[in-house]
């Protein structure tokens, strides 16, 4: 069964450093998402992406964040200058049809900012 994959599974970085989180969505899906979950808290939406552009973003997704689909398979989330409060589990998800179908989640990248 196709699944969403994410790399790395864990990343430790110093405050102020740039990180890139990578995702490979399910191949025939057209809508892509990033969510995050701070330890012990609920899952929060960051951004959705369709047709090579951001379709929706949350207040969390400020200028420090960017997303890109550099080729036909990868979907990346970049945090330019990490802060301590960016420490969280970051989930990528993909979906076949906007808002109407199941969103399938990857296993997540656990980011720790020191």
């Amino acid at each position: 069964e196709p699944e969403v994959t994410q790399t790395p599974s864990h990343q430790v970085t110093q405050m102020g450093q740039e990180v890139i989180l990578r995702c490979v969505p399910i191949s025939n899906h057209l809508y892509f998402y990033w969510y995050r979950q701070i330890l012990g808290q609920k899952v929060e939406f960051l951004v959705s992406f369709y047709n090579n552009e951001i379709s929706e973003k949350s207040e969390i997704f400020d200028d420090q964040f960017s997303v890109e689909r550099p080729d036909g398979s990868n979907f990346t989330l970049k945090i330019r200058s990490t802060k301590l409060e960016d420490s969280a589990m970051y989930f990528c998800a993909s979906c076949r049809d906007r808002g109407l179908e199941t969103q399938y989640f990857g296993p997540g990248t656990r980011l720790l900012v020191l």
């Binding site: 899952v43 939406f45 989640f105």
Partner: protein, 111 residues
């Protein structure tokens, strides 16, 4: 906040018993999805129920949706130790595409 509450926040039952978790939301939805998360791991999709559906089944899982009360429930029958996890409901509101998650219910199945 668009998302309401899930209750209970924590539930502990004996293996073999049924577990029921509830979720409420605040405005009209396209669909509601239930996910399971084992400690510190990814989100596993369980069931999607659309706004025009009232009940869906998948194996030992039964989900109901009451749009008049803006609530949903997830029933796990004949629970097993492996069902121990956190369970989240997440809604897609009309006109939107993002999932809005609740706080989740921590389910513990005691052998």
């Amino acid at each position: 906040s668009q998302q309401g509450e899930e209750d209970p926040q924590a539930l502990s039952i004996q293996e073999g018993e049924n577990a029921t978790m509830n979720c409420s939301y605040k405005t009209s939805i396209n669909n509601l999805q239930w996910y399971r998360q084992n400690s510190g791991r990814g989100l596993v999709h369980l069931i999607l129920i659309r706004s025009n559906e009232r009940e869906k089944h998948s194996g030992r899982l039964r989900v109901t949706l009451d749009t008049s009360k803006k609530s949903s429930s997830l029933l796990i029958t004949a629970s097993r130790a492996a069902d121990t996890a956190s369970y989240f409901c997440a809604t897609v509101y009309q006109g939107a595409q993002k999932l809005v998650f609740g706080q989740g219910t921590r389910l513990t199945i005691n052998p």
